[in-house]
């Protein structure tokens, strides 16, 4: 566990060693605020709720989260530091988990910085604090899934751009499989299966700020699955 935290600490700190992290956060926050207030016509709708925000962020995540995860493995490969890392007395799982926790914590901080939005909403009317809290929890879970997926993909290449693009596409596919428009186009027997594995259809509960236990299990098992794949891909390096 100590090793996991050491790795996580190092990775987390290195996010802030370059300007990329700051640019990322600023753009993310500004974009979300812009979309929420302008595009979704918050003031026109006139309701003290973050519902549209919670519906919007998972889509913004599709492009922003892969940007967080893309460098985690790809850079190590590129620099050659993977060789040092993999010859330290660490278990592969410890390294994977350390990197994951670092990126998750970074995402958490970014999300936490959106606090002006719920603050504004709450000051304008009677907002449902419980719903807002659950909504954020849902966002963390969705972000967590995208991060685990992006992290795994980053371990498969040494090019950060490729890692970004493939991860973004993968997240998009995962999302889209649950969207109604797609579901009407596939054969009937496939629908329950797709609805089960897809991320897309589960947003209604996040939007409403409701924690559905089935969704939580879904997110957690997906995270576990992608982290497992990640450990496997790191192990297979040794055999290569």
């Amino acid at each position: 566990m100590r090793n996991v935290l050491t790795i996580a600490g190092k990775e987390f700190r290195s996010y802030f060693n370059s300007t990329i992290a700051y640019i990322f956060m600023v753009v993310f926050l500004v974009l979300n605020a812009l979309l929420f207030f302008e595009l979704q016509k918050f003031f026109v709708v006139g309701q003290a709720t973050l519902r549209d925000f919670f519906g919007l962020v998972p889509i913004v995540f599709l492009f922003f989260v892969p940007a967080i995860s893309m460098r985690l493995w790809a850079e190590e490969r590129k620099l050659g530091t993977l060789e040092t890392l993999m010859t330290l007395p660490l278990r592969d799982a410890e390294v994977v988990l350390g990197k994951y926790l670092a990126s998750l914590f970074f995402l958490l901080i970014t999300l936490a910085l959106t606090f002006p939005l719920p603050a504004i909403v709450a000051s304008l009317g009677h907002a449902d604090a419980g719903a807002m809290f659950c909504g954020y929890l849902g966002l963390i879970l969705v972000g967590g899934v995208y991060l685990a997926l992006g992290l795994w993909i980053s371990s498969l290449t040494e090019n950060q751009i490729v890692a970004f693009i493939v991860a973004a596409v993968a997240c998009l596919i995962l999302f889209i499989l649950g969207v109604d428009v797609l579901l009407t186009a596939v054969p009937g027997w496939l629908v329950p299966f797709l609805k089960g594995i897809a991320l897309g259809g589960r947003f209604s509960s996040i939007e409403r700020g409701v924690i559905d236990l089935r969704d939580v299990l879904y997110y957690l098992s997906l995270i576990g699955f992608f982290l497992f794949l990640n450990v496997r891909s790191v192990e297979s390096r040794r055999v290569a």
């Binding site: 100590r2 090793n3 050491t6 790795i7 190092k10 700190r13 290195s14 060693n17 370059s18 620099l79 050659g80 530091t81 060789e83 040092t84 993999m86 010859t87 330290l88 007395p89 660490l90 278990r91 390096r237 040794r238 055999v239 290569a240």
Partner: protein, 313 residues
């Protein structure tokens, strides 16, 4: 300390290592010599558990690298080729990170970092970001991370590439110093370096071990005995039969006739052929102007072995 038995590794169709067997004893500084692509780095990566082998076993301190991988890595300090480092970290932060992973805790960690900074000559650079360091200092940081946990085994892949002559001398002295108490396996292209720092040499070529021994032993083996250059002021026709019949000379050839003298290259298996040859010259009233033992350089041994593909044990 390190036992390698029948090590084999293939990358697709290429055979990187072919049934390599050798030992590195505790307290030895073993030099791994070979042309590019001979398999040195591959062998080191297998010993340090970075990649796994296709055949054979490797044991470090009695522990198997496939089944007890983490324990093996704990005992090794490894400096990969071109000392890869995290460019955005500070020197001290980096050493702290490695130290913590290596199991060093707060007060001792700080002390060790300071020690490494001093020993590796990083005092002026300690507060700089790694990305701003020159190659020489990066190499030193790499060496510092190798030593910080005081490992029993050091594996160094071309530790002096890219350094300027002053830095090379410093690093070599450091390695020699460390080698007195630890087991060191280092690889290099630079033959004088092997002669300067190593107690024993392994020459590899195309994945196979072609020679093993001290630099001195290898030279003797490759030469096939001792070679002497003899120049006398005498008529060749009288000299040659005497030399051939002396019992000291195994083979000879006329190497030239500088200024009318006869110059011979003689191969001998005797212990001190120079003494016997001198006596012969005195006996036969030859004027002796050259009596020199030719020492074959490690470079020549290397060239012979790696262009001829002979397996010598």
């Amino acid at each position: 300390m390190i036992e390698v038995r029948g090590l084999t590794k293939r990358f697709g169709a290429t055979v990187a290592l072919d049934d390599v067997t050798f030992d590195v004893s505790a307290g030895e500084v073993l030099g791994f010599l070979g042309p590019n692509g001979a398999g040195k780095t591959t062998a080191m990566r297998i010993i340090t558990c970075y990649i796994s082998q296709d055949g054979g076993t490797v044991r470090v301190d009695g522990l198997d690298t496939t089944t007890q991988s983490v324990e093996v890595r704990r005992r090794i300090g490894y400096l990969p080729e071109s000392a890869p480092l995290y460019q955005d970290m500070g020197v001290i932060d980096y050493l702290g990170f490695i130290g913590r992973i290596r199991g060093l805790e707060a007060p001792r960690l700080r002390a060790r970092i300071d020690e490494m900074v001093t020993v590796c000559g990083l005092t002026r650079m300690a507060h700089r970001t790694i990305g701003t360091l020159s190659k020489g200092f990066c190499q030193r940081v790499g060496l510092a991370q190798t030593l910080i946990h005081d490992p029993e085994v050091l594996i160094l892949d071309e530790p002096t590439t890219g350094l300027d002559p002053n830095q090379i001398v410093e690093i070599r002295d450091l390695i020699k110093q460390i080698g007195q108490k630890k087991t060191v396996l280092l690889s290099t292209h630079i033959l004088p370096e092997v002669e300067a720092t190593c107690t024993r040499v392994l020459i590899v070529n195309e994945g196979r071990l072609v020679a093993s021994g001290t630099p001195h032993e290898l030279a003797a083996q490759s030469q096939g005995g001792t070679r002497i250059f003899l120049t006398v002021k005498a008529v060749p026709e009288t000299v040659e039969p005497v030399l051939r019949g002396s019992g000291v000379v195994r083979d000879l050839r006329l190497a030239g006739t500088p200024d009318g003298r006869a110059r011979y290259e003689i191969g001998s298996d005797a212990d001190e052929p120079e003494a016997a040859l001198f006596q012969l010259a005195v006996q036969h009233h030859w004027v002796l102007t050259e009596l020199r033992r030719e020492s074959i350089s490690l470079e020549q041994v290397f060239t012979r072995l790696t262009t001829r593909e002979t397996v010598v044990r």
